[in-house]
């Protein structure tokens, strides 16, 4: 059993999907915590300070490469799984009913992931590209807080961010508890706790992120 055999097997691919997914979920906590600095409501002073530190710290830049690698791995694995699953049933059913206990979002992880990816492209364009232009190409210094304010008060971007977060919510709702099953953790006493934590995590993260555009749009922040 080589490493290649392990990670190209169906179970290995799922384990890799779960591990990368978990890494990304931890990253979301860091991301949400840092962005929450806007809620100090000090005209972005604290937030811009942290953003400046993150942008000009080479260790963070180094970690960013790892983050991108994990994202790419998660996306490529997802595409491979999706293609293989489609190939496993070339002729579909004329009629397909699912019992009530089957969660619709567990069947649409590929589509939800695609929406999250599209959202991510927009998000990187908004906030990543401009800061990297500043850092590497001596571009204008970005006031990230006011950049955020500009984007989140635009009705089109506002709606697209919320739609993106709803896709992320359902992607996480399935992903969190599903990863545990993939790692082989399914226990009569522990699994309900895992599922509870997963629901709490998914809703809390998405509400925290959603509060950012909402707070700017509603004028709660300076």
């Amino acid at each position: 059993m080589t490493w290649k055999q392990l990670f190209t097997s169906s179970i290995g691919k799922k384990i890799l999907m779960g591990l990368t997914g978990f890494f990304l979920m931890i990253y979301l906590i860091v991301h949400a915590s840092i962005n929450s600095m806007i809620f100090y409501n000090d005209n972005g002073a604290t937030f811009n300070n942290v953003a400046h530190f993150m942008l000009h710290n080479y260790f963070v830049r180094f970690l960013e490469i790892g983050l991108f690698a994990v994202f790419v791995l998660h996306i490529i694995q997802g595409l491979i799984l999706w293609t293989q699953n489609r190939a496993a049933r070339k002729t579909g059913y004329l009629k397909q009913n699912y019992p009530r206990e089957i969660k619709w979002y567990s069947r649409y992880m590929g589509w939800l992931g695609t929406f999250v990816l599209l959202f991510l492209v927009m998000h990187l364009y908004h906030f990543w590209a401009s800061t990297k232009h500043e850092l590497y190409f001596n571009g204008p210094v970005i006031d990230l807080y006011h950049e955020m304010k500009n984007i989140f008060t635009n009705p089109l971007w506002f709606i697209l961010y919320l739609v993106g977060l709803v896709s992320l919510l359902f992607h996480l709702l399935h992903g969190f508890q599903s990863a545990f099953q993939t790692f082989g953790i399914n226990h009569r006493r522990w699994t309900p706790i895992v599922k509870g934590i997963g629901i709490f995590y998914s809703i809390a993260i998405c509400i925290l992120f959603a509060m950012m555009p909402v707070a700017f749009m509603a004028g709660w922040l300076q």
Binding site: S10, N85, R89, Q181, N186
Partner: protein, 254 residues
């Protein structure tokens, strides 16, 4: 329960052979008793088709007692029809009422090609069992039944996994066409018992290897397999197989 008769419309998948393209055909069946089984209703229809000189509808069946795993019909969008923990041979017509239209399709999986009409080729399951779904025992005198202590709870769990009849409903019902519930039941029934312990690592590696080679889809933890399984096999077995597989592949020396 009150006995009644009904007239139904059936939309059935007809396909001459694997090479031919299939299509749905509509049949009106009359005076079906509520006490018939779903397969008996097909028997009545086939009698009529033979009488009319037409080709009867081919479907798999053997015991008609819900224990052999032969029958394999996707009825109105559900594997083995609308009843829980039930095979289609044990589905009775009292599940339907006058004027209902029922869509009947074969298991849809690239790995289970249609042989004819509703009959599919499930030999891929046999090949997975051949890859490791056994224990190697030297022949000789029968050993005393109680010479190996077995934990009561584990023997019950092994027995629950062994209830799998290999019908393929899990593959048919899985949106990804994955065979994980079947393979995990077969891995679990042996891994849980001391007799299966010596070969547990090679067994799970070989069986999962064969499953992947056959071209089944990947498990997405959607759990429609568990919901549709006529024997109520739990997805806890899938978690067990994931554990067994990860442990075996990490500790394997080659």
């Amino acid at each position: 329960m009150e006995h009644y008769s009904m007239n139904l419309t059936l939309k059935v998948w007809r396909q001459k052979s694997h090479e031919n393209k299939g299509r749905f055909e509509t049949y009106d069946v009359k005076d079906i008793s509520s006490e018939m089984s779903f397969l008996e209703m097909f028997d009545v229809l086939n009698e009529r088709l033979i009488h009319e000189g037409k080709d009867p509808i081919a479907f798999d069946h053997d015991c008609r007692e819900g224990i052999c795993g032969s029958c394999s019909m996707y009825v109105d969008g559900r594997a083995h029809g609308p009843w829980q923990n039930n095979t289609v041979c044990q589905l009775h017509m009292r599940a339907y009422k006058e004027g209902d239209t029922i869509v009947v399709e074969p298991w849809r999986s690239t790995v289970f090609p249609v042989i004819k009409d509703l009959v599919v080729d499930r030999k891929a399951f046999d090949r997975i069992i051949q890859a490791g779904g056994f224990i190697s025992v030297n022949t000789g005198n029968a050993v005393d039944a109680n010479s190996l202590p077995v934990d009561r709870a584990k023997s019950e769990e092994a027995f629950n996994a062994a209830a799998c009849i290999g019908c393929g409903a899990c593959v048919a019902a899985c949106p990804n066409g994955s065979a994980m519930l079947f393979v995990s039941a077969k891995v679990s029934q042996l891994a849980l018992l001391p007799q299966g312990d010596p070969e547990r690592n090679s067994r799970v590696l070989n069986m999962v290897g064969q499953m992947d080679k056959e071209g089944f889809g990947n498990c997405g933890n959607i759990y429609n397999c568990e919901a549709e399984c006529p024997k109520g096999i739990s997805v806890e077995n899938i978690a067990r197989m994931n554990r067994e597989y990860l442990g075996a592949s990490l500790s394997s020396e080659i």
